[in-house]
């Protein structure tokens, strides 16, 4: 086992444990903190797999901006802890466990049956400069679509989050 693969397995174990703790926490704020650990582990995996720019973006966008947004919303709205009903929870856990078990067993079978499994990946690194050249030469149109998507999401979030105000129709009714 080489140095890189040891790093990979350590990061994988840390990420999986942090994710498992995140999805089983009772309070959403604790889940967010564990999820930040999981996302930083994923960012280090990105760096290990040769994507340093994406690792930076993962830390800045995911672990930074999105998680802060989550924490902001959790602290803004009061979450009433509802008493859980055990039967309903079991009814929901059963399909989740069955589906995840099927997916995991298929993946394990694929790993065992794949003839290319012993071939390890060779380390390579794509720097931000060539990555940027590649994206803006090959994928300039999807970049524009993504920017439109973000703009539409911004407008939608503003529309949903607007405060209660008098509708302009009523005002014009009152005016005459």
């Amino acid at each position: 086992m080489s140095f890189y693969s040891a790093i990979f397995y350590v990061l994988a174990i840390v990420t999986v444990i942090a994710t498992f703790l995140a999805i089983t926490r009772r309070h959403a704020l604790h889940a967010i903190v564990y999820l930040i650990i999981s996302l930083i582990g994923t960012a280090l995996l990105f760096y290990l797999l040769g994507a340093p720019f994406l690792a930076l973006l993962e830390v800045i966008i995911y672990a930074g901006a999105i998680m802060v947004l989550f924490i902001f919303i959790i602290m803004m709205i009061q979450i009433r802890s509802s008493s859980p009903t055990r039967g309903a929870a079991l009814k929901q856990w059963l399909p989740a466990i069955v589906l995840c078990g099927i997916a995991f067993s298929l993946a394990a079978a694929m790993v065992l049956a794949d003839p290319a499994t012993p071939v390890p990946l060779t380390p390579a690194m794509a720097g931000p400069r060539e990555f940027g050249h590649f994206v803006f030469q090959q994928y300039w149109f999807p970049v524009e679509i993504a920017s439109f998507l973000l703009f539409i999401a911004l407008v939608g979030a503003l529309y949903l989050g607007r405060g209660e105000e008098k509708s302009p129709a009523k005002q014009t009714e009152k005016a005459p």
């Binding site: 693969s5 994923t42 994406l54 999105i66 009433r80 989050g161």
Partner: protein
């Protein structure tokens, strides 16, 4: 030498399964969104691993778009959660049973 690509796939499947389990079983709307985030993250991990396996930058370019989609989804989803909390006073997905007979 890093690990084989199938180990990366296995890790991504585990993460995706954990995210799917979170999205299916939890009833807090914020936890459901967190599950969706975990699933998107696992998909990004597969793309980066495939990008290294075939020595091509297409996979990494797709992860950029996954980030954009995740950011848009979180913005709209959290705005919806705030809207629903204002409207019904609850973020419990089981309480939205207005149409139940």
């Amino acid at each position: 030498m890093i690990v084989p690509f199938s180990h990366v796939l296995l890790l991504a499947v585990i993460l995706f399964g954990l995210g799917a389990a979170c999205a299916v079983t939890r009833r807090n709307l914020i936890m459901i969104l967190i599950g969706v985030e975990i699933m998107l993250n696992a998909a990004g991990l597969v793309f980066v691993g495939a990008s290294l396996k075939w020595q091509h930058l297409d996979g990494q370019a797709f992860v950029i778009f996954i980030f954009a989609v995740a950011a848009a989804e979180v913005a709209v989803g959290l705005a919806l959660i705030v809207f629903l909390q204002r409207r019904t006073g609850s973020v419990d997905a089981d309480r939205y049973n207005l149409l139940k007979g």
